[in-house]
Amino acid sequence: MTEPIIKIDAISKSFGNFQVLDGLSMQVMPREKLALIGPSGSGKTTILRILMTLERIDAGHIAIEGEQLYHMPKNGGLVAADERHLTKMRQKIGMVFQLFNLFPHMSVIDNVTLAPMLTKGVARAAAEKRAMELLDMVGMSEKAKAMPAQLSGGQKQRVAIARALALQPKIMLFDEVTSALDPELVEEVLNVLWKLCAETDMTMLLVTHEMGFAHDFADRVLFFDRGKIVEEGKPDEMFSNPKQERTQTFLRKIIAAGHRV
């Protein structure tokens, strides 16, 4: 049996005295495409941020490919990870932010080529070639020379996706990456992700509130509420036949409103 690539073990996280996560455990298998859904404020973004090491955890353990993320072995025991260890671990992970976080002082193409050139030593020409391919996939090659401030919301989001993909990390975290996109583009982004999955062996975690997208994209769906996993399962099962009361209420309204799930 294959080992899980991400193993989250009883982690907790509070902001001040607001407890967001309380003893959460979950596992993700290599090449799995996992969708996290759940109401606003339930802690979905927080989980991705923790995996990206943007927040520290208060308790618990996380292992990536069997290696501890927030801890490292020292003198036989486990101690808190230092910056060096985190940097090493981060090589395996990439993230697309809900609010894009593009570098405002660089053109679109420079945003995409920067990281491959700096962290992987890819030559400029090769990096630009690859960047143009990615921009083309998301329909943004025309705006390669534009600055982020000159882009519309959806255009920014597509650049952010291309930027993260350029690094080809093993694990990719997407935070509501289709929020600014119209259905036509959602479709296209979905195709891009599928293509990448086929080409590489990326594992993907995706936070979304578009049930249709979650359904089409994911191998498995986790439904969150108040920092706890309420239910999980294959998209078809989950959406057509939710078991938990909370999931039913969440999905009922959507179905009632005629949304396809």
């Binding site: 941020r49 990206m52 090491t53 943007l54 910056e83 940097t87 981060r90 090589q91 992970i93 990439g94 993230m95 697309v96 932010f97 609010l99 976080n101 593009l102 570098f103 405002p104 002082h105 053109s107 920067l114 990281a115 700096l118 962290t119 600055m147 982020p148 401030a149 000159q150 930027r163 993260a164 690094l167 990390p169």
Partner: protein, 219 residues
Amino acid sequence: MTDWSGYLSLILQGAVVTVQLTVMGSALALVMAFVAGLGRLSRFAGLRWLATAYIEFFRGTSIFVQLFFAYFVLPFAGISLTPLQAGVLALGLNVGAYAAEVVRGAILSIGKEQYEACIALNLSRWQCMRRIIVPQALLVMLPTFGNNAIELLKATSVVSLISLADMTFQANIVRSQTGNTLFPFATILILYFAFAMIITFSIRALERRMARGLDGVRN
């Protein structure tokens, strides 16, 4: 009749000294500003300490004392600097300490999300600083750097203490030798202003160049 053209050339000789001091002092100050400003933000307590000590010492004591020290006390320690060297050293270190705080403030003003994007792209701390944070912070620093350079320009007038004949000094000589206040003071006023405008316009031009394309972010 007073020979104004002769006195004018005296003041112009002083102006050359003033310009030399300003240019070289600014260069040193710029280097110190980044070294100490980044030092204060370092992860290493030792570096932070050193940078803080430098900044607080040079901000806390006056330029007069520093100049005096560089020129009259260092010779006792066997380091004999020419007046120009001593002047550049004292001015550069002094203004550098102020500018270091500007560097620090500007870097802290860059939003958290930019650091997070760096982490997500796995850039090292150094790469993030150099490619993402500093280029954006530079724009915040520039106007204040312009201020600092102009302050340095005007602070050069204290170098008369170590017998460097700068513009103000020459003007004072002309004033007491001729008994005329208006001519020398008006002359240096115009010269200082002209130099300051050169600094201001270069900084503005730089700012405009760097702000290109950022117009949607900045106002």
